[in-house]
């Protein structure tokens, strides 16, 4: 592992205000690789972390359109072209009877794309993460608020000190990935 690989420093904060305050101070000092960890979504964290808009709506919308188009093509090709079925001599092209299957396929593809889209964005499944080596960090999904910052190896001690000064109750260094 090269010496330039960034190291992750964790700080545990007692309140959302303290967490956001520390994040803003670190951002002002030039650190941008920040993240928060909490048992439930924190209101306002997107703005503090300056996150870009989520691509999930776009993924879902595209998948829904693909679902609808494939639903129409499927029914048209199977029942009107490949093996025509004449039901009571009704018109062949878009019939109201196509609506249920078209709708269901649109919903199905949108839903499946949201789930797998999220998995791709999160890079899941990832059952192992060096963060899990830090025993106190387990409280992040139980009752504690943690802040993480990725820094150069030579900055670890100054940043750890800075986190404490900004109100961290505990500071931990994430071990390097094996």
């Amino acid at each position: 592992m090269s010496a330039a690989t960034p190291r992750v420093v964790l700080g545990k904060y007692p309140s959302v205000d303290a967490l956001y305050g520390a994040a803003r101070a670190l951002q002002a000092a030039g650190h941008s690789a920040l993240d928060f960890y909490s048992p439930y979504p924190l209101p306002g964290s997107d703005e503090v972390l300056r996150l870009k808009k989520s691509p999930v709506p776009f993924i879902a919308g595209t998948a829904a359109c693909i679902g609808v188009v494939s639903g129409v093509l499927l029914q048209w090709w199977t029942n009107d072209v490949d093996y025509p079925i004449n039901v009571a001599n009704r018109s062949v092209v878009p019939t109201p009877t196509w609506m249920p299957v078209t709708f269901e396929l649109g919903v199905l593809l949108a839903g499946v794309s949201i789930f797998f889209g999220l998995m791709a964005i999160f890079r899941f499944p990832r059952p192992y993460d060096p963060l899990f080596e830090v025993e106190p960090f387990r409280s992040a999904t139980i009752d504690a608020l943690w802040l993480s910052v990725a820094v150069k190896p030579d900055q670890v001690s100054t940043v750890s000190e800075e986190l404490r000064r900004l109100g961290a109750a505990e500071v931990e260094l994430v071990p390097e990935e094996a």
């Binding site: 924190l42 964290s45 079925i85 919903v107 789930f115 999160f122 999904t141 139980i142």
Partner: protein, 467 residues
């Protein structure tokens, strides 16, 4: 009493019951809600044993049906659809409350859904599993059913007929199952991570760690997660309405009196929500007592569910009324014969009157606060509504079929022991799955309850300056 004191007392009396009792901390909620998983109960083992034995009935019923054919059922001419389709519609309907609670109430920002959504979603998935079994077995040869139901290229060069409501059903039910499962699992991920991090045994940490997929509660993940969850709720809302509408098309598209009715889609959806909420109450009332969830599933949740049942019962009652009105107003003699003779005075009149009693009369008690807040009555009423909704499907299916247009084709239907084994077996199988869920998976959405708890405490702090 001085006027301000009196006003305060009145305010207190009128204030709704809390959604979360007391002022628990995150750690307390964690311990309380995970208790069933880490400290199992003896009652649970007994119940699982009983449910597993009952599931044996299902295995016997299905084996006999597959080995000897559906002639083992009571279905005949003219009653070609009976227990199979009654149970299918009943189970699918039960599933609807899950999506209603998790999706529609989320979109309407009804915070009381938080403690009960996980229960209801699990109920949906397990109910749809039972439902899907019936039409599949009813095909007679399920191993052939795959090319009858799904469009895949086969050597015979034929395709399903997409103009048939039965094929719409296949797409609706399979989409519904898939989306419900994904929605449920997505909601579970943060709670599985909580379990992984709370567990002390290595095997539990590994097992829950695998299912948690690596969730860390990162804000960068929460951002996408919340958007995805909300859109999934958004698309589940029209989906849930479409599923029972499509199930109702199985009947409404035909020309049989009692089936050929334009009111069916909304009336089926309302009936599904009604029966589904009843099932949520039937399950949650004993579960909250056994697993001590009373602090998060409070009287307010039960009362709200009673109110939803009252509203949906009235929609269903309106459906009954309109069916009868149209039978009279249309002047169609076949319709009139069914609605004014066969149903109220025919061979199965008892089931018809039971349906009216359970679905129309019983929920009217929920106008009184005393009935809505009595846990015992809520439980009894919820079971009665479950029976009533089953009776409704019997009335629609069997009573419409056994008196055909021609008296020469009239007949009587009676279920056989195989019908009963399969029906009761699905109830046991459903219970088994539900019990396993209660024991191994967080039955209340912990992350969401914690978030709600913070919101409530924040609101209180800002409203009155005291917690």
């Amino acid at each position: 009493m001085t006027p301000p004191a009196q006003a305060a007392a009145e305010r207190e009396a009128l204030a709704p019951m809390p959604l979360i009792a007391g002022h628990p901390t995150d750690a307390q909620l964690n311990t309380e809600l995970l208790a069933p998983i880490f400290s199992p109960d003896q009652t649970w083992k007994i119940l699982v044993g009983m449910a597993a034995m009952g599931t044996g009935m299902l295995a016997i019923g299905l084996t006999v049906t597959i080995a000897r054919g559906i002639g083992m059922w009571g279905n005949n001419q003219p009653v070609g659809w009976a227990y199979d389709i009654i149970n299918f519609v009943w189970w699918i309907g039960i599933g609807h409350a899950g999506t209603l609670i998790s999706a529609i109430l989320l979109l309407f920002q009804q915070k009381w859904r938080t403690s009960i959504n996980r229960f209801a979603e699990a109920m949906t998935i397990f109910a749809v599993m039972q439902a899907a079994m019936f039409p599949l077995v009813h095909t007679g040869r399920p191993w052939f059913a795959i090319y009858w139901l799904f469009p895949y290229p086969n050597t015979m060069g034929i395709w399903p007929n997409f103009k048939s409501p039965l094929i719409w059903d296949v797409f609706a039910v399979s989409t519904y199952f898939t989306i419900s499962l994904l929605f449920w699992y997505l909601g579970l991920i943060p709670d599985l991570a909580t379990l992984r991090d709370t567990a002390t045994k290595k095997t539990q940490r590994i097992a829950y760690g695998i299912f948690a997929l690596g969730w860390k509660g990162s804000s960068r993940h929460w951002q996408h997660y919340r958007v995805g969850y909300l859109i999934l709720a958004g698309i589940s809302t029209p989906l849930v309405l479409s599923v029972h509408s499509i199930v109702s098309f199985d009947f409404a598209v035909s020309q049989l009196p009692g089936w050929h009715t334009t009111i069916f889609p909304p009336y089926f959806v309302a009936g599904a929500v009604f029966g589904g909420f009843a099932m949520v109450l039937t399950l949650i009332i004993p579960a909250r007592a056994v697993f001590r969830f009373q602090n998060v599933v409070t009287g307010r949740h039960l009362e709200n569910m009673a109110k939803v049942m009252l509203v949906t019962s009235m929609i269903v009652s309106y459906g009954y009324l309109m069916e009868n009105f149209m039978a009279w107003y249309s002047g169609n003699p076949y319709e009139a014969f069914l609605f004014f003779k066969t149903r109220p005075f025919g061979h199965y009149a008892g089931i018809y009157w039971m349906m009216l009693f359970c679905n129309v009369v019983v929920p009217q008690t929920f106008w009184w606060k005393k009935a809505r807040t009595s846990v015992a009555w809520l439980w009894i009423a919820s079971i009665l509504v479950g029976i009533g909704m089953w009776a409704e499907r019997f009335v629609i299916i069997v009573i419409s079929l056994y008196r055909d247009f021609l008296p020469s084709s009239w007949g009587i239907y009676a279920p056989t022991w195989v019908d009963w084994f399969i029906f009761l077996g699905t109830i046991c199988f459903f219970s088994l799955l539900f019990l396993l869920f209660l024991r191994f998976v967080p039955a209340v959405a912990i992350a969401e309850v914690k978030e709600l708890n913070h919101e409530i405490q924040h609101e209180k702090a800002h409203a009155g300056g005291h917690p």
